[in-house]
Symmetry: C2
Subunit: 185 residues, 2 copies
Amino acid sequence: MTPAGRRIVAAAEELFYNRGITAVGVDLIAEQSGVTKRTLYNQFGSKDHLVATYLAERDQRWRSLVRATVDTCERPVEAVTAPFDALRTWSETNTRGCAFINALAELPDPSHPAHRIAANQKLWLLNLFKELATAADCSDPATLATQLLLLHEGALATQPLPIDTLSETADLARALVRASERPHQ
Amino acid sequence: MTPAGRRIVAAAEELFYNRGITAVGVDLIAEQSGVTKRTLYNQFGSKDHLVATYLAERDQRWRSLVRATVDTCERPVEAVTAPFDALRTWSETNTRGCAFINALAELPDPSHPAHRIAANQKLWLLNLFKELATAADCSDPATLATQLLLLHEGALATQPLPIDTLSETADLARALVRASERPHQ
DNA sequence: TCAGAGGTATACTGATCTGTGAACATTGCC
DNA sequence: GGCAATGTTCACAGATCAGTATACCTCTGA
């Protein structure tokens, strides 16, 4: 991606997430990134393609954070709930809920690339939970992973509420992991 | 509300939920409800006000369903998880996630009435869980209520995924309620 | 040397957006 | 009878939307 392309995506990320995709016009993105609208269209071809790039880019950033947080854990059982620690960090600068859920809300067409990206993001996390649960020798990793995903998405969805649900979420997540731990010497 | 007003809100509900708020223009709503744009503005004054009415109306319908489902339960312990049965019914005809979360995604301004309505909807459910948990003599109803709300929102958020999370959600919810039941003669 | 890639500047199209103005028709109620 | 509420018709304003056309600039690498 060219320097101008990167600046465009950066501006798009900020604007799309904070103001909504449909509400933000390409003119504003071009202005905010100090670039001509012609350059934007030369780089991305259409607004839809820019939206897809924005979501893919964001997905990459988030996965990196989650992976890094998982890697800091010493014991496998801690790693299972590490994504909830990552969520706390992430939520410090992302207070408008899940960008992918929000994108789906605005883009009803299931053939829009945003749908595939959003679904893959959730499925990636589900699979990560399953792998971590397996590595921690939990019983029934598949069920546990689904439960953890539910909690994760619930915590994101209740972000706008005037109550702190993140601590409760992490507590319950850890309790579920503990309950499914198999005793071993 | 006048007959025309009701038709407008009905059309707005269908269009706003399925296509997104920003993406749907007042012209389309007027046409779909067989009404002039002039009438729409005479009744609601602005699109923002129509959006608020749409959300309030939807909230009422949903609360009625939840209350009705709770009322069919014979034992208090079943009533605690009745909202998850209501969610199953609701999801049969509402497959595009939570209308309130979706609305917040499109309307960043916290002073928009949609924010108050959405927050109140979640807080109402949280409080209902708390009351039901108290009535069922659960230990720590406040924590249990938060956990159940998290699961509820998680189930809604994972709706677009190609896996059925609703059953897992209800199972876990019932398990949490059982675990917090106090033994009594 | 020169060709191509990346980018700028500016004007434009045609459609769509929210919201308004003004005149007129219908209905029910006092 | 007459008034007020409800609604229609239709034209219009001013802004913004996604996307395009044309011409020009600048730098790099073969």
